[in-house]
């Protein structure tokens, strides 16, 4: 007589799930600490770094530039509809568009694009190396895989994603200005002078700091997913997909907390009258 398989008790499933979450966090924390440790201990060679910097930085320029340009242009189209309802406020369009691009949309959308383009590629590449035993081969040859594979990708993401964010910001600002002044006939002087009043160095630096954090998140999540890819084409595909989804969620969650933190910090430094 066959025995019916009873489902695991819900309490047991909950504890197993909780254990898996705690182990997962522990694993990724250990991975991050090892990456930071190797970054301090030994600098990767230029021969290892340059191809990765080229892949992450130079090859991302077109997609980030186009994304930034159209963010600015779409913002101008959407903002114009609202601002025309209050004609005296039309001059503030520049401040609204440029502020949104520099503070939030530039860093977040550039990071999202890079999570898709760079993060998925990293996870797929390292996942393939894992399932074809290339990572084991590195270890057998006396080379630490985290030092050789993760540190260069981490550095490339942390240092180049801010530069790409600057590009996205610039293209967004130019796209918004072009549509506003050339298509909607906003007075250029008003457009730029209001922007200058409302956007300061603080906004630019906060945006760049955020993009560094996003870069670090993308690198760690993507490399970790790649290192833990399961065997087969499905395993590599899943690693690439997971890396994008997890990076995207992490970017949005961390962005919220950083926005709260920097707003509070700003008010502490420069109290409102």
């Amino acid at each position: 007589m066959s025995k019916a398989i009873s489902p695991a008790p819900s309490g047991g499933r909950f504890l197993a799930g909780l254990r898996a979450i705690i182990l997962g966090w522990g694993d990724i924390s250990d991975f991050t600490l090892q990456t930071l440790g190797w970054m301090v201990r030994r600098r990767p060679s230029a021969g290892t770094m340059l191809p990765i910097f080229y892949q992450v930085g130079v090859r991302s320029v077109p997609v980030v530039g186009i994304t930034g340009l159209f963010i600015g242009m779409v913002l101008a189209v959407q903002a114009f509809g609202e601002f025309t309802r209050f004609p005296p406020l039309r001059g503030w369009m520049g401040a609204a568009i440029n502020g949104s691009v520099i503070r939030e949309l530039g860093p977040v959308l550039a990071a999202t694009m890079l999570a898709g383009r760079v993060g998925s590629a990293i996870a797929a590449e390292l996942g393939t190396m894992r399932v074809t035993e290339q990572i084991d081969a590195l270890t057998c040859l006396g080379v630490n895989p985290i030092h050789y594979l993760v540190v260069p990708r981490f550095l490339a993401c942390v240092f180049l994603i801010p530069l790409l964010t600057v590009l996205a910001d610039f293209m967004g600002v130019m796209g918004g200005a072009f549509i506003s002044t050339q298509y909607f006939d906003i007075e250029p002087y008003q457009y730029w002078s209001q922007s200058q009043q409302k956007i300061g160095l603080w906004d630019i630096l906060v945006g760049l700091f955020k993009s560094m954090v996003f870069g670090a998140l993308i690198a760690i999540i993507s490399c970790h997913r790649g290192f833990n890819a399961k065997a087969g084409a499905e395993g590599v595909g899943r690693a690439a997909t997971d890396s994008f989804v997890l990076s995207f969620v992490a970017i949005l969650v961390v962005d919220f907390f950083m926005a709260m933190f920097f707003n509070t910090l700003y008010v502490q430094i420069w109290p409102r009258e």
Binding site: P51, T128, M129, Q134, D136, A137, T139, C140, L141, G142
Partner: protein, 282 residues
């Protein structure tokens, strides 16, 4: 009066301590137990071949011997040092005394053949580019590959060429132990024989200790000095060891255990009932 020949003297000498040891090793991945209470000692210069059904843990044993995996219980020892007790830096130093030829060669896709073979020299020696070039050329000739392949990428090589490049990379630092994971899998019979011959020649030229995992009885016949057969954990009988055979090729052929004979002859009887399977439809 009897004279004592040199081989007899060798026999009279106390045996050298094992270079590689697995003592009471258990290995499990989650709930999947792969190795149970394995004890295996390998002496310097020996060439044991590990055989057994796919999935019964031979590759895991190789990875335990080089410290790529930590046993769930028991210990792996190399040259008198327990690998799990070594700090990372020492473990790396010990690993450099090994060469590992992976089943799929595990060549680095992003590097050329030359860079793959030169990789260990660049990472662990201070040799000039000229010296490295000479050593790489020597090594590529030793494994019988033409120099024209050096600038190709691994993706442009055939299976046999990849294995030989993998062997060249494994040998470039002159290791004391070479581990081969299914070196002839996926190769045609002639290329399999080429690889078997290379394993034999490498052993003779460099006096290395070679541990080979193989399911190919031709490899066993050609390179094995000692054959160790594993049984899958799921089929171990009560009070039985997982290693069901440990002896030389002559002993293998007359082994009384039907499971050993079944494996040697490659017979499916008792495992698949052909009269009941869909194969009988054909």
């Amino acid at each position: 009066m009897s004279t004592t020949s040199i081989p007899d003297l060798d026999r009279l000498m106390p045996p050298a301590p094992p270079l590689l040891r697995l003592d009471g090793v258990h290995m499990a991945f989650g709930k999947n137990e792969v190795l149970r209470d394995i004890t295996l000692h390998i002496r310097k210069g020996e060439t044991p071949v590990l055989i057994g059904e796919s999935g019964c843990g031979e590759t895991v044993m190789l990875k335990l011997l080089i410290g790529l995996l930590r046993p769930s219980a028991g210990q792996a020892t190399f040259d008198g040092r327990v690998l799990t007790d070594l700090p990372e830096a020492d473990l790396v130093r010990q690993r450099l005394r090994f060469g590992f030829v992976f089943q799929g060669a595990a060549l680095f896709d992003s590097l050329t053949v030359f860079d793959n073979i030169a990789f260990p020299l660049r990472e662990h020696t201070n040799k000039s580019n000229d010296e490295i070039e000479v050593l790489v050329w020597e090594q590529i000739h030793e494994v019988g590959l033409p120099g024209a392949l050096l600038q190709r990428r691994p993706a442009e090589l055939s299976g046999g060429q990849r294995k030989r490049v993998g062997l060249a990379r494994a040998l470039i630092l002159k290791p004391e132990v070479v581990l081969y994971d299914e070196p002839t899998t996926g190769l045609d019979p002639i290329m399999s024989d080429v690889i078997n011959e290379l394993i034999r020649q490498t052993h003779q030229r460099h006096h290395v200790t070679s541990v080979v995992v193989s399911h190919d009885m031709k490899t066993v016949a050609k390179v094995a000095q000692r054959i160790v057969m594993l049984n899958p954990v799921s089929r171990i009988r009560p009070n039985e060891q997982q290693i069901i055979f440990d002896g030389d090729a002559a002993e293998l052929l007359i082994a009384s255990d039907p499971r050993v004979q079944q494996f040697v002859r490659g017979e499916a009887q008792s495992r698949v009932d052909l009269s009941q399977s869909s194969l009988s439809d054909y």
